[in-house]
């Protein structure tokens, strides 16, 4: 069970030496409780405290990394059931199912789709993270051939070998040595053999069971066989069963500290209809799946799933920010309007969206306000006349515009006088208070 800040404080030296960078031991304890600091920052902590805190800080959901290199993806380490309590830690992995019954050309084409799936959204690089290679043929030789194609064509991608046949798994998994693949297909009847394959090849092991009781027995057995990096398949097929089992698994791990279910979960969203598949995948994203298996990865579907994953896994205490710079919207000319606003991602999205709706080309100067919205940033002293003026001067935008006019948000109309003083030669215009009035505002100026 995670310890509270006060419980941690009792184990600290209470010297308030400040060597950890915090003003007091209590402050440091609070940071530890929120997982914003690590114990090694304290030079004087006792061995006893280290041991107690170490046990307590072991994450209730075991961290497991699949793949290798800069595209390795980490799962697990979750600490809460609801994202408003604390950030969901490691975003789920999307894996495309590739069946070994496909031709080499078809498999190559799917590998290419996965490799080229990367997109950028709000400064984050998002992609399909893995391939699940399924032994649909039932033939070990076919699985090996297909695995060779995947290993060659999608070398950097995390791989899940999906077979219940230990010999087939053994041959295929060897092709991904050093890349931490997931061998998926242990169950009550083949557990020892599959665990041996996973152990000998340093792979993670996926375990399937009909229900959570059987699953928790099997994970303990697998641990006994020497495999600790486990992934859970509760046998849930429908969206309803996924919510039920994933919720019970997460509660057991976090609220009851029930170790046999303290592992990442794999869910299967494949459906005949791609749109329905995307919605089932959405349920998996929101409700605790760490691996979501898909049967197709169209660009439109990826964009929506990546965006939902990003939304759900955003830190609720740290606003999403966009990069400070001058954004061109449309094709601005020297005499196009210049707006300024803050870098809270929603502020940026809404303001830029409304400017786009107006069909007028504009420049939008987005100033780093640590992700605060306009009024909050102003109140916190991060969106002041002095700072805005400095940003505009440093940006060098002066050279690109014909009329030195800056449109400020209506909520900070109060800044217009001091901005004119600090930006000599500039005209400061007070724009609308709400972004949805921007189209009318621009129309009235045209």
């Amino acid at each position: 069970m995670a310890l509270s800040g006060v419980e941690i404080f009792k184990l600290l030296p209470k010297t308030n030496c400040k060597k950890c960078g915090q003003p007091t031991c209590l402050a440091f304890a609070m940071k530890l409780a929120q997982r914003q600091a690590t114990l090694d920052l304290c030079p004087d902590v006792s061995e006893e405290a280290k041991q107690k805190l170490g046990e307590a800080s072991a994450p209730p959901v075991r961290p497991i990394t699949l793949g290798a290199g800069d595209k390795a993806t980490k799962m697990g380490e979750e600490t809460v059931l609801f994202r408003h309590d604390k950030k969901f830690v490691n975003p789920c992995i999307f894996a495309l199912e590739v069946k070994d019954t496909l031709s080499e050309a078809e498999i190559t084409a799917l590998c290419d789709q996965v490799v080229s799936s990367e997109m950028d959204r709000v400064g984050q690089k998002l992609r399909i993270d893995g391939i699940m290679l399924s032994n649909a043929s039932g033939d070990a030789a076919k699985l090996e051939t297909a695995a060779k194609t995947v290993a060659a064509k999608a070398a950097a991608v995390a791989v899940i070998i999906n077979t219940t046949n230990p010999q087939a798994a053994e041959t295929a998994v060897k092709l991904f040595a050093g890349k931490k693949p997931l061998v998926f297909g242990a169950n009550a009847s083949n557990l020892e053999a599959m665990a041996t394959v996973a152990k000998n090849n340093k792979a993670a092991l996926g375990i399937s069971a009909a229900g959570l009781e059987e699953l928790s027995v099997l994970t303990e057995k697998a641990k006994g066989f020497g495999v600790e990096d486990l992934v859970l398949d509760s046998g849930a097929q429908t969206a309803k069963a996924i919510i039920e089992n994933n919720t019970l698994i997460r509660r057991a791990a976090i609220k009851k500290n029930f170790k046999p279910l303290g592992y990442p979960v794999i869910s299967f969203a494949q459906r005949g209809d791609s749109l329905l598949e995307a919605l089932v995948a959405s349920v998996c994203i929101a409700k605790y799946s760490s691996i979501v298996v898909l049967s197709s990865i169209e660009k439109w579907k990826n964009l929506a799933l990546f965006t939902l994953r990003q939304n759900i896994y955003t830190d609720p205490q740290v606003p999403m920010q966009v990069e400070q710079k001058i954004y061109n919207i449309g094709d601005p000319k020297p005499d196009s309007p210049l707006f300024v606003t803050t870098n809270f991602s929603l502020t940026y999205f809404i303001v830029s969206g409304e400017i786009e709706n107006s069909k007028a080309s504009c420049r939008l100067a987005v100033m780093d306000s640590e992700g605060l919205s306009v009024l909050t940033a102003w109140a916190a002293g991060k969106f002041t006349a002095g700072k805005i003026a400095q940003f505009i001067i440093d940006s060098g935008i002066e050279k690109e515009v014909a009329n030195k006019e800056l449109i400020i948000p209506g909520y900070v109309a109060i800044l217009s006088g001091s901005l004119e003083e600090k930006l000599p030669g500039w005209k400061i215009t007070v724009g609308p208070r709400e972004a949805n009035a921007i189209p009318a505002f621009l129309k009235s100026r045209a």
Partner: protein, 313 residues
Amino acid sequence: MAYTAPKETYPGKVYSVTIGTGDRAATLGGENVLPFHSFEGETPNRPLVAFEIQDVPPADWPENIRKVFAGVSDDPVTWAKYCQNELKAKAIALRLVGTHPDRENRSAEDAAKTVRDVLAAINVPLIILGSNHAEKDSVILVAVAEAAKDKNCIIGKAQEANYKTIAAAAMANNHKLVAMSELDINLSKQLNILITQMGFEKERVITDPMCSALGYGLEYTYSVMERIRLAALTQNDQTMQQPLLADVGMYVWKVKETQASESDLPQWGSAEERGILWEAETATALMIAGAELLIMRHPKAAAAVESVIEELV
């Protein structure tokens, strides 16, 4: 250590709210567990998808969604019938956007006539929404509440600035009421308290904590809804036990992802399917967070949401 299922029961329950009359009346809410947690409690009613129509032609809707209703959307009565009869809508949401002073600025009499005509043409429940102009809505919604007397509609949206007149009109004419606040659980609670202090029954309110689209603040609406639902269940907070509304369509069909063409942004893939999924996925995420009533635009998005509901119950 043997496994025992960590099921949870709660002291609180979401109110059951019935809208409409006769055979086609529909009931929202009623559950005593988190959304779709039928494994540990009662979930008597499915979320309800209402099709959005408006009193004036949808010239403000982007082409991708406007074209779906070409030929029927010039007239609200034809549009409503099309949704009910062809698209099998279980409820209809009529937005009186044409009453907005910056739009057609239609009068209360016009709005009342539109509502009477639409009600005469359909038998599924009707949700009647103003133009979100606080001042004008307090005139329009009073007139339409009277025009729809005893039809057990949902009238909205009542906000802090205008709830008194709108709630009084909904009360006098036997309607349900949408109470909308802006993405803040405390504001939502406060508005529900103010409305019930007027003598409006708390079991007749639908809470709208304000919607946001996927990628444009969805996580805020998602978490506010989740927190409201948890307060309703775990704290038995009667000011938080109203069914939740997600007004999905109008927020989704203005973001770039539902409008940009594939030729402009080839990396985003098919614009048609992208728009449909954007709406359906926003709705699905909010159902998981607690929304019981969804107002949607695209028939294919609504149908996909019905399919996922089918799998969830």
